[in-house]
């Protein structure tokens, strides 16, 4: 497998070589970070250094970073833990959007089902953006929490988190953002953003899987997730994943502001190139989500090619060229349609969702790689259209 043909970096990223070496190095550190002897102290240093690096990465103090097993855990914990800690034993109201990750949407549905919360799901426009006016209008006297993703994983839309956090603060509401897809693709500064909590995951930007963090603004109460030995400031007990944290810390340390800015400029150029090439070479190819005005992740391109299934296109370029992309719809074992809720929310029809393909660029993506992929997509589209039934018989 070669990283050159990998265009699914929003699903997960390649493990950075320096991260891999840092993890291997940490394998020699077998002590328990909670032990008071030298073995324990050495392991504790690995954890502390990782916490320092992640804190620098998002602009907060080390003690504001609580390590978790990843983005889904961080999202689950933030929503449940913040609501519980702010004393909403009865029914609270929370506001989210229709295009959140399942690890947010399903928590909201759980809270509704169990009678713990009423939830308002904000709609989005054709570009996937929420309206701040609609957010303000959705606020009720009993609203306790707003949870809104910073950048969408499927279409890349960036939400106005800072403005939403200001609104929340003004109205005495807690603000959580799922920044799993934004981390490593946008500069993050929690103080500038003004959020109370922020979720992130290591494997989206060169770190290992199974490690993440929840930022918590000082003074904000959060109910513990795991009771026990008191690790993670008494909020998430359990012996730390020292090897994973060594990797997480290294990934965060490697991505300084200058490197990130250079990366963003490179991706923006590649994205413009790809959109232009596909428009030239693939008839009836349409971009899903932000185009032009709305802010979007520069590494994420979601397209729909009329008359073919995205799944078939992905299969064709995968089998023939080893290329890896993601699709908006897939067959399921239950014969139920598995259609992207994000594409549905921006007004795409079922046929349009079935034709969707997501291309997400990473640090290793080159201009030559993008040119190659565009050629492969054009070839696959021509092949599949020659076989397709639509309008042909």
């Amino acid at each position: 497998m070669s990283g050159e043909t990998y265009f699914d970096h929003n699903a997960t990223s390649e493990l950075d070589e320096q991260v891999r070496l840092a993890m291997i190095d940490s394998m020699g550190t077998f002590g328990n970070p909670s032990s008071r002897h030298d073995y324990g102290t050495t392991a504790k240093t690995v954890v502390s250094e990782a916490r320092d690096a992640v804190a620098r990465f998002i602009g907060c103090a080390p003690e504001d970073v609580k390590f978790t097993s990843g983005g889904s855990e961080s999202n689950n914990w933030a929503i449940k833990g913040l609501l519980e800690a702010c004393g909403s034993k009865g029914k609270a109201h929370l506001i989210t959007t229709v295009i959140e990750h399942p690890s947010v949407l399903q928590v909201c549905q759980y809270l509704e089902r169990t009678g713990q919360a009423e939830v308002t799901y904000l709609p989005v426009d054709e570009a996937g953006a929420i309206s701040l006016a609609k957010l303000e209008a959705a606020v009720r006297p009993d609203t306790r929490l707003i949870t809104m993703m910073m950048a969408n994983n499927e279409i890349g839309t960036i939400q106005p988190i800072r403005e939403a956090a200001l609104l929340a603060r003004r109205r005495g509401i807690l603000m959580h953002t799922d920044a799993v897809q934004a981390a490593g693709k946008l500069p993050l500064d929690v103080r500038q953003l003004g959020v109370d909590a922020l979720s992130m995951s290591a494997h989206k930007f060169g770190g290992p899987k199974g490690v993440g963090a929840l930022y918590l603004r000082p003074g904000v109460e959060l109910e513990p997730l795991i009771h026990g030995g008191g690790q993670e400031f008494g909020l998430r007990s359990g012996t730390e994943n020292v090897i994973g944290l060594a990797g997480f810390g290294k990934a965060a340390a490697l991505l300084d502001r200058a490197k990130l800015e250079a990366q963003l400029a490179h991706w923006s150029k590649l994205k413009r190139l790809m959109v232009a090439r596909l428009a030239e070479r693939v008839p009836d190819c349409r971009v899903n989500g932000p185009a032009g005005g709305t802010e979007a992740l520069p590494n994420t391109i979601n397209i729909g090619i009329a008359g073919i299934r995205g799944e078939s296109l992905a299969a064709y370029i995968g089998v023939k060229h080893g290329a890896a992309v993601s699709v908006g719809s897939a067959c399921s074992a239950t014969k139920q349609a598995s259609l992207s809720h994000v594409l549905r929310a921006i007004g795409r029809s079922e046929d349009e969702i079935r034709s969707a393909v997501r291309i997400s660029l990473g640090p290793s993506t080159t201009e030559a790689g993008v040119e190659r992929l565009c050629g492969q997509i054009a070839e696959a589209a021509a092949h599949l259209r020659s076989v397709a039934a639509v309008g042909a018989v």
Binding site: I308, S312, Y316, A330, D351, S386, V387, A389, A392, V393
Partner: protein, 123 residues
């Protein structure tokens, strides 16, 4: 992900196209998946002599149309009708759980082909 048979037929499907004057046209679709196959059959004395089709769908459903077209061509209707479902399913090779709906596509193609042909031969 895709077995060898499916990959071969999907990447290079056999018998794609239309017949100028088909004796029968079989159209099947799956409202949930959106798969559509339109198959033209040429018949002669209880035998399928030619098959062409157009297919829109996932990789496995396109491969299924191709595999069916190849297998149906030259077959006696009686023989095709008498085949056990498992024998037809086996033509697709091992499928993953989310690909198994294509066995239904294969069986439906056979059923519709035989039903339509029965109508022709019954005249």
């Amino acid at each position: 992900m895709y077995n060898e048979i499916v990959a071969r037929h999907f990447m290079d499907p056999m018998n794609v196209g239309e017949l100028a004057s088909p004796d029968e046209t079989v159209r099947i679709g799956n409202a949930v998946c959106g798969d559509t196959i339109i198959m033209h059959l040429a018949l002669e004395e209880g035998r399928i002599t030619d098959v062409k089709y157009r297919a829109y769908g996932c990789a496995v459903s396109i491969a299924t149309a191709s595999i069916a077209s190849e297998y149906f061509t030259g077959k006696e209707l009686k023989e095709l009708r008498g085949l056990a479902d498992a024998e037809l399913a086996a033509l697709l090779g091992d499928l993953e759980p989310n690909q198994k709906h294509c066995v239904d596509i294969m069986l439906e193609l056979r059923e519709r082909a035989c039903a339509s042909v029965q109508g022709v031969s019954g005249r």
